[in-house]
Symmetry: C2
Subunit: 331 residues, 2 copies
């Protein structure tokens, strides 16, 4: 990942530095009191890629990426969300239980301090522990959702959020609070099956034609829709048998597997969140398109697509923590 | 794998050399006209581990492992089954369609000949192509089932075979013919999730106590039994969240994942083969015990466990091909 630094002149004075600090990347946002982003900095120093281990490494990255801001506006509040609050992070912010809203996050936040005396308020992740089922956890997505609520306050009444990715999240929200969620390891399943299982052997790096890709993806969705409990370990073998028997071109097999796995997630996710609450998709555009296609194929209402809501979410968290006197909302 | 050669003296004269030639191992059986094994040879020269590529490599292994038999009893018929008949094998024996019995295998067999003039009859795999679903394939398991029918002729009327493994097979048989089957990538899913996904990070090499292991395995089974369509990509995440939240000891997480994946296979397999036909388990003893536990947990009738039926199956194939005048059946 490259580094980007932008700076907008002639804006309102800064009121917050917000850090979106994940496993593999660091993003910082300088914001004014209305939540408008004045400047950004980014780098590859995710929590697993620090220049040195431990608290010193975190402080060093913050100084390197945000030093000029901190020097020019000393005393600006700093907040952070994502894996920076995990057990492998700067300081662990234990999971807060659902139901949860930004005020919950603020109450469960923890503080880290750099050798230079800069204090960073770190948001916790969330724990959902429904009776009779294994617990589920998230860290980072709760900030994205806080951002979505700031961008689209009407969603606070009732909504279902889908955040596709390596570990997709399906999140239910009522009256501004996250009431429950489920993680789907869809992206990671796809990656390990493609790169580490026999299924990858027939797959090629050659991209299929657009029409061929869409047909294979749709065939995977169809199979998922027709599935019964437990069928997935059987159905994934079709990504081999369709190729072995010449019924699908090798270039299309990965698309088929993508449709099959996303289809399974969507079948299960829709059953889990049954109802009429609006669907919201938050994430990378290409991946969100795949999920929108799957939702449409299964007759779900068209989802509202949102981009990266992390900066707005970190601002929402800072306001809830009383670090920023919230000005006008200009999402 | 080490090499084993045994030789029983004072038996009936040899009538067949049978080769069980898979991806990672070679096993040879010298048999009399009743199917009794007189001597065995084995080595690590699976089709992906030949001393040299191509037909020469296959001929060389056969000469090295079975040369003394071929020299002492020239003209003995030789049959082979398993991946030796795949596109990467000695000579491809294309999949024969279901329904299929040993006579079907004999009709679709192909022959390879060594430079020394030894002829080897290679059994085909099977193709199951149900309308409206992806095709499925097997290669090697059809021989195991032919062996089970020779060992337990009463099963020929109607039976359901489960062959657990990297790619488990659930096979339906009626009136001596395989009428359909389904592959489950359960073993490979477990391996890639354990060794190549985030789930493996919390797992330890320390073995859990027997009671703890059984409880974790049962918890995985329970979750599988409670699952709806598409739930697996969500449920596997519990192998992380249960560990992260301290609700399951790291040593037990792999057992939980094993129970969850086998449970999914069994839920689906039982639904697919609904009925009253007897269940038969063929495979490695420890793995078969796991499946027997799962079947019992789901209220299925107790399965009949069988060991390695490949030698008997190769004999059955040789008889069907007219290479051996079948003597008395002494399974």
């Amino acid at each position: 990942m490259g580094e980007t630094v932008t700076d907008k002149q002639g804006q309102a004075p800064p009121a917050l530095i917000a850090l979106d600090w994940g496993t593999s990347s660091f993003r910082a946002f300088l914001m004014d009191a209305s939540g408008t982003v004045l400047a950004q900095a980014a780098g590859p120093e995710g929590i697993l890629h620090l220049p040195r281990p431990g608290a010193e490494g975190f402080a060093e990255v913050l100084a390197a990426r945000c030093g000029p801001w901190l020097a020019r506006w000393p005393g600006l509040p700093v907040v952070a969300g994502g894996m920076v609050g995990s057990a492998q992070g700067w300081r662990e912010a234990p999971y807060a239980p659902c139901p949860a809203d930004p005020a919950t996050l603020a109450r469960a936040a923890v503080e880290a301090t750099t050798p230079a005396g800069v204090r960073v308020l770190i948001a916790p992740g969330l724990l959902h522990a429904p009776p009779g089922a294994p617990p589920d956890v998230m860290r980072g997505e709760e900030i994205q959702i806080a951002g979505a609520l700031r961008a689209q306050p009407a969603l606070a009444a009732r909504a279902r959020f889908i955040l596709p990715g390596t570990h997709s999240k399906w999140v239910e929200l009522e009256e501004g609070r996250i009431t429950g969620f489920a993680t789907y390891m869809t992206g990671e399943l796809f990656a390990v099956l493609r790169h580490h299982s026999l299924l990858g052997r027939l797959m090629t790096e050659v991209a299929p034609g657009a029409e061929e890709a869409a047909a294979a993806f749709a065939q995977g969705l169809d199979l998922a829709r027709a599935s019964g409990p437990g069928d997935l370990p059987h159905q994934i073998f079709a990504a081999r048998s369709l190729g072995l028997t010449g019924r699908m071109a090798p270039a299309a097999l990965a698309e088929f597997l993508s449709g099959l796995l996303i289809g399974h997630e969507v079948v299960s996710g829709l059953a889990r969140t049954e109802g009429t609450a609006p669907l919201v998709l938050i994430g990378e555009a290409g991946l969100c398109r795949r999920y929108a296609t799957a939702l449409a194929a299964f007759g779900a209402p068209a989802p509202l697509p949102l981009g990266n809501t992390a900066p707005a979410g970190l601002f929402h968290f800072a306001v809830a923590a009383g670090l920023v006197a919230a000005g006008e909302t200009t999402p």
